[in-house]
Symmetry: C2
């Protein structure tokens, strides 16, 4: 494998382990073992665990943005239905994960924001892009009259993404889909005007 | 000091360190050093780090519930104003913490839910009590016509607490009060009927 391929394999295996165990809790040794890469060669691919952490945020964001884009950029559907499709897709993903793991960007934000400024900056950038995708969708929804014209879209985008992240945290805690359903019920029955969305 | 006092001192110092550094990231050694307790005596007070973690959740919950009760049980104010008082108080607390640390119960839920079933159970219990306090307040608000009668209060309580936790995660990530302000603007301008609350 090329250096670039091996680096990608390390990221892929690290992403999987860290998604379930956390960043601090995962040793470089565990990641290298899972990747079939010899011990001691980590620093050939990454300057430090922190440098790996920054690359990991990019790796997670690439996965997330492909899911976000698949739904939010689907011009065949009205904007709120696109957003609802995104949420439904994530509900399926987390059912399959038996309500473990949660959002990798949310997890790392909670864990690393006070511990590493370079990782925090990367996370803030990724989270901000996730929010922008939602905001763009909400702007379209407002223009089409799918949501109440009184909403401040910037606040709403911040609020909606954060509420979703909080719901994922509660899902992980309660090992249940109920927090995600409560999110759906409130967001799609009251915040948006789409009356077809009864949860 | 009595055994009970020393145990409490260990919890108090552990709570402080873990609030800023995380559970896995904090060694028993660090906690004992900060507590002025000899190394090796930890197991006189706790069966294991996991046992300490369970006691820690109780310790955090006691602190949180005293803040929750101070505001949410204040019968001199209408229910929504009590909830608003709670949120304003937390905004002050987190300003003083320079938007670090976040909610200790939320942090541990994110970090420990998939790692320790006994700690997860304790956290779920604490989180459920926090939600009940908010639900009781929302039930009163609904009875007094302060919030829309269409709301399902159980869903709303789940949603409101989770949205707050998500806002705190974003605050920690962005090192800014803006996510907390977006929460206030949405919750108090739209979800509740109280028009005096313009953020």
């Amino acid at each position: 494998m090329s250096r670039q391929d091996t680096r990608q394999t390390i990221l892929q295996n690290g992403a999987k382990i860290i998604h379930s165990k956390g960043f601090v809790n995962t040793g470089i040794k565990d990641i290298l073992e899972a990747s079939g890469v010899p011990k001691g060669s980590f620093y050939f691919y990454f300057k430090s665990k922190e440098d790996f952490g920054q690359a990991l945020v990019d790796y997670y964001y690439t996965l997330i943005s492909s899911i976000f884009e698949k739904h939010l950029h689907d011009r065949n559907l009205p904007p709120i239905d696109r957003f609802k499709g995104l949420i439904d897709n994530y509900c399926k993903i987390f059912k399959n994960l038996q309500f473990t793991s949660g959002c990798p960007i949310g997890n790392l934000s909670q864990e690393m924001s006070d511990l590493s400024e370079p990782i925090r900056e990367k996370l803030q950038e990724a989270y901000s892009k996730m929010r922008s995708s939602i905001r763009d969708c909400l702007i379209e929804a407002k223009e089409l009259g799918q949501i109440d014209a009184r909403w401040n879209i910037d606040d709403l985008a911040v609020f909606v993404l954060n509420s979703w992240e909080g719901a994922l945290m509660d899902m992980k805690l309660s090992k249940s889909i109920q927090p995600l359903m409560a999110f759906k019920n409130i967001i799609f029955n009251f915040i948006v005007k789409d009356t077809s969305a009864s949860g």
